[in-house]
Structures are given as C-alpha cells and as structure tokens.
Symmetry: C2
Subunit: 378 residues, 2 copies
C-alpha cells in the first residue's frame, strides 16, 4: 500500500465485519492495508482465525469501541437476520450487506421493522460488490478483489443520506466503480447479467453428463466458453436464485418461449426434412434475436472490443515459445494491448492473437515474419 | 512452406475444389503451398476470382486433367447434390465434402443412388474439419486454418478403403488431428459440443434485447463467455441445424426438462418464499448436474487445465503496460505457458493471469514484486 492510497482513504472506521468468507475477508484486508481499524466475527472459529491470521484485523470483543460501519458478508438467506441484529446491537453504526440479491433482504427487514418499531432502517443501505471468483473462503480473499469492479449501492426510501454516503465511500476507497440502483432494479439487472447466464450454462453442461468422451474430444472454445460458469457452487447459487425468484422466472419464461420455437422448428425438420415449412424461419428468428442481444453486451470497457488490430501468430506448444514471442514483440518495440490464446484438444500449436494499435499491426507482422514466426493472414 | 513440409505431403492431386468460401479456399491455399495442383470452381465468379488471386490455384476448365480428389465445400443444404454431380462427372475421383452435418448428406446420396445405380458411392467419404472462424468467405481463409484442429472422417459402409485413405491423408497433410466416426456418431457428437451450445448461447442473448444499458454495464466475464457465440450467422446455422434436427432435438428436450424443473422451483420460491418445499432442491439438482457435465469437458490438451501455476498481476490499462509485463517476465527468465486477461467494463486496471510451470511461480511472484508489479495473492 502506498502512502498516497492510505491518504486517499475516506473511510475512517472502526469497521466491523460479520462473516469472514471471500468478500468479508477481502474487504477486511483492503481496509487494514489502508490503516482502517477492523474487527471480525464469524460463526466458524476457524474461518475467523484464518481471516485474522491473513491480516484482516482483530477478532471482535465486548471491549471494542462502537464501529462506525458494519459490513454483513454472509449468505443471502441469513443476511436480513444478521443485519437486523447489528442494527439493534450498534445504535449508531451504518450497516450494509454484500449479498447478491437486494429486494428480498429489504422486504424481510421491512417486515421485521413493522413488528419492532425500534429497528432503525435509516441506518441500513444494501450493497453488492460484483467481484466473485471461482474459489471461495478467506483463503481466496484479496485486498485487490474490488479494483475496477462494479459495486452496486442499493439504498431504500428510508436510508439516511449519511448512511448512503458511508457505503459509497467504502466502495470508492476499495477501488470499485459505484453504480447506484434501487433494490428491485438491481435484482432485475443481476437476473439478466448473472443469474440467467449461470442457469443457461448449467442447463447446457447438464446435457453432457452422458456424452461420450470421443464426442467431447471435438469440443472447441465455443463449448468451453458456454459451460465455464457451470462449475459454480450449487448451495450458494440456490440461495441466490431463490432470493431473486420473480426476476429470474420472467427471463426463464422468455427462454422457454424461445426453446419451444426451436423445438417446433426442429420437429418439423426432423419429420418433413430440412426444408419443412417454418423450420428455417423458426431457427433463424431465435439466432437472429441472439445476434441482436449479444451486440448489446459491453466488451472490455463498454463495447470498445474492436479498438485494436489483431495479429495472429502460430506458437508451437513447447515451453518457452510463448515467452519468446512476447520478448520479441517487446524487442520489436510494439505494445501488446490485449492478448488471447486459441487452443483445441490434441493441438500441437496454438494461435496467439496479439492485439496492438492499428498503426503498429503491419510493422509487427512484417518484423515477426522476418524472425521466422508464422503469422496467419487475417 | 519449408522443403520438409512439401516433401511430407502425401496428397499428390490434382485436387478439385467445389466452393471457394472459407473452408474451400483454406484447403486450396494449404495444398498449393505444398505444390499440389489445385483447380477451383464456384457459382460466384467474384468469389472464384478472389480465391484464385489469393493463391488458391487455377480456375477449372474443360481441358484440366481428371482430378484424383474432389472436395465439395458448400453449405450443407446443397452438398449432396454437388457431391452426386461430381461423382457422375469424375468417374475415377474420390469425392469428399466438408459440411458440418454428415448423416443427412449420406441419406440424400443413398436415395439418389437407389434411383440411379450408376451413382458410385464407394468413392464418397464424408468429412468435417472443425475449423470455423467468426468470419467467413475466401478473404478469411488461411493455409494454417486446420493446424491441430479435429478433422472428422466419416466413412460409410460402402466407402472403399482407398477412398477413406485419400481423405485421411488430406486431413493429415493439412496438419489436422483425424477423428474417425460413423456419420450418425459424428452428428450426435457435434449436436452436443457445437449445436447445443450455439442454441443455448443464442437463447441467452435473445433475452437481453430489452435489458437496460445500466444493467448490461454490470456484465462480467460470465455473461460475455456464455453469449460470445450468439454472434453467429443465422442463415448458415439454420442450414446446419435443420440438417441435424433429430440429434439436436434430443438434447433440447433434455434442456426443456431441466428448464421446467428450474421454473417449478423458482415458482415455488416466488410464491412461498425462498424456503418453499422443493425450491432449493430443484435448483441445486440442475446446477449439480451442470457441475458434473462441465467436469467432463476437456480443457486445453484434454483436461490438463491445471498443469500450470497461475500468477495474477494487476496491469494498469495504459498502452504498453501489458507489453512491459511480458518483456519483464522474459527478463526474469520464466516461460509463459498460457495467459489470460480478466476485464470488466469501466475498469482502470486489468488482471493478467500468467500460467507458468509450478516450480517457477514463487520466483516469478517475488521478482515481479521487486519490480513494483502488484501481484495478487492466490
């Protein structure tokens, strides 16, 4: 942590973290690195000790001063109860949570407040840092987890302005890009960009359980991309999805309409041949709608996917060859802006796709060919 | 082309290419580079001239010698007719096609042969080089398109051994990895690894047509991966899918069953809350089956995804920074085995994930930190 970063930290703390998993410990690490005092608690003593030992702060005790901010970082199905408990136990603290659904937690809290007028929801502001990773737990935590990631701040009608500011400040301090949304708007958004692709990936991968290995050996990047997130944790995802059921249902009903169109078109083709009335039109309609939808998905930095020119180079799959390519591109004096590797099973060579500024592409291609790299014409 | 590669070419030709799109021209370029005589034909005079001008061979004339091998590289819905025409016109040539469905073409040819006993199917062997790209046409062609990619050779019961050998030899000459399958086995395989993910990606992306931009700004790598292939051409894909309708239908009916389970589980949760009977179990069952399916998908080199250790480095999104990282990794003397970049919209930094031999990871992390790179602990 540089002195400048610590100076720029506006959150003063103390901050109390409830739940020392991936998100809770990552927030704790980022705050302690910025010299903000952090106390920790968790129902699992061993998870709690791990978080402390990684440098997340001190284990909370009754003697601690009152926290200014409490972050509840537990699974969505227990979040509302723990937020309410913190609001009651800390009469002056701002309380936020980091669960990936927001509407249901607010509904649960509102019901509790209706039965208990002492429950002060003005100090509660929900939030959602969109910074998951494939691994979970404190061991996977990182102070840098939130850098550049969206962090939704989802205030409700009773949230006090000072409470909203405290949560926004936390997100900014940790390097995230703040997005302000109402809880229902957040839930609709994550249903589309996160929950829908998760379920579609799972549904796709689930069809492969009985696929022979000889068939799977033909898999290319397309299948790998579509099924990658199907590796996610069923228990965590079931809690997320049941907490956003209505919004996800809307989208899945749209999927079912499209799927039924595909099934009708393919049934016609299977029964009456490829030119059966409606077959081609039914398929083309769904694929065409997909063209339209994918064009709206922002790429890197919101749709500037095509900013660079791509130079494709064949790289033998031997240790050091990719490193040699990068070194030589550096010697040639061209900056690599982005990079990807195309692979297929059993492949003896890979295709390295180097993105460079368009003005540098021709020079790089010529220089690489001079050095005996096999440059593939685009 | 080196002398060794030309010497190793077993296909002698002449080879006649029918259809000078991406695949036809790529095969033509690869063969002419190996000094095999190639003649070209296409229904589009301009596509034909482009293929010739790129170096694909000469435009076919009546004076040409009889080809030894004919490659029909046209859309699947016209493939059988053109294969039959070539079998009739060239009484001694082996004829193959490169369409991405195989059963329906064989069925159509068998029906033609039943009506015309002179149609000699012993000289026909279907094949499928799995080497598409996102762009199409001769302009996107490359002699290296097939290097290391699977090339399915799908002989039928009447195929002569010499004909099968000629097609396998073509695939090997062009650097592909030959997979031998019966036509129906091929069609079932590509339904699972190619046609299903295409349709699931299209169905997912189709739901985003009315999603607000503020929601799409939250999109992460998961959505981008699942929807990437949704950008494919509706016309080409409709022809492929109607030609493999039965196999794709089987899979889509499996999807429909899983989708109905999800809808039932989410309906219960929407009506009776997240703990409604069956809600969590229904969701977890589909996601769990997805875990099982995705574990079967081979990664790079057939499932050795975990062979390397990953070192994660934060890279400011400024020209030259990624190039500087690669140069310095080269200076440190560590070979980069694979590489990927994680991005999110509006991100000021990217996470570069450098795969290296496990024995080199700790040394690389220490050396990068010494050079003031921000290495993210795993």
């Amino acid at each position: 942590m540089t002195a400048e970063a610590a100076d720029a930290t506006a959150t003063t703390g103390p901050v109390h973290i409830v739940g020392t998993g991936l998100l809770g410990t990552s927030i704790a690490l980022a705050l302690t690195a910025r010299d903000v005092p952090v106390t920790l608690t968790d129902t699992s003593p061993s998870a709690l000790a791990l978080s402390r030992d990684l440098g997340g702060g001190s284990i909370a005790t009754a003697a601690d001063p009152e926290p200014a901010l409490v972050v509840v970082a537990v699974p969505p199905d227990v979040t509302a109860d723990l937020v309410a408990a913190q609001l009651r136990a800390r009469p002056h603290a701002v309380v936020t949570d980091v669960a990936s659904v927001k509407g249901i937690i607010l509904t649960e809290l509102t019901e509790m407040a209706a039965a208990d007028p002492g429950l002060d929801l003005t100090r509660y502001v929900g939030s959602h840092p969109m910074a998951g990773r494939e691994r979970s737990g404190a061991g996977a935590a990182s102070a840098d987890l939130f850098l550049g990631r969206p962090w939704v701040v989802a205030a409700h009608e009773q949230s006090a302005a000072a409470a909203v500011l405290a949560v926004r400040t936390l997100a900014v301090d940790l390097g995230a890009a703040v997005a302000t949304m109402a809880p229902a708007e957040h839930d609709d958004a994550v249903a589309a960009v996160s929950h829908l692709p998760q379920l579609m990936s799972s549904l796709t991968a689930a069809q492969l359980v009985d696929t022979p290995d000889s068939a799977l050996a033909l898999a290319g990047q397309g299948l790998r991309d579509v099924t990658r997130v199907a590796a996610s944790d069923p228990r965590l995802w079931s809690a997320i999805l049941t907490g956003n059921a209505a919004a996800v249902l809307d989208l899945l009903r749209g999927v079912r309409t499209g799927l039924d169109e595909l099934i009708a078109a393919l049934t016609a083709a299977a029964e009456d041949g490829p030119l059966a009335p409606g077959a081609v039109a039914g398929l083309a309609a769904v694929i065409g709608a997909g063209n339209e939808g994918v064009a709206k998905v922002p790429g890197k930095h919101g749709g500037t996917r095509k900013r660079y020119a791509e130079v494709s180079v064949l790289v033998p799959d031997e240790p050091g060859e990719l490193g040699r390519l990068f070194s030589e591109v550096g010697e040639i004096g061209v900056n690599i802006e982005d990079f990807q590797m195309e692979h297929s099973p059993k492949q003896k060579v890979g295709m390295a796709i180097v993105s460079v500024m368009p003005t540098a592409a021709a020079r790089l291609e010529a220089a690489l060919e001079e050095r005996n790299w096999r440059v593939v014409a685009q």
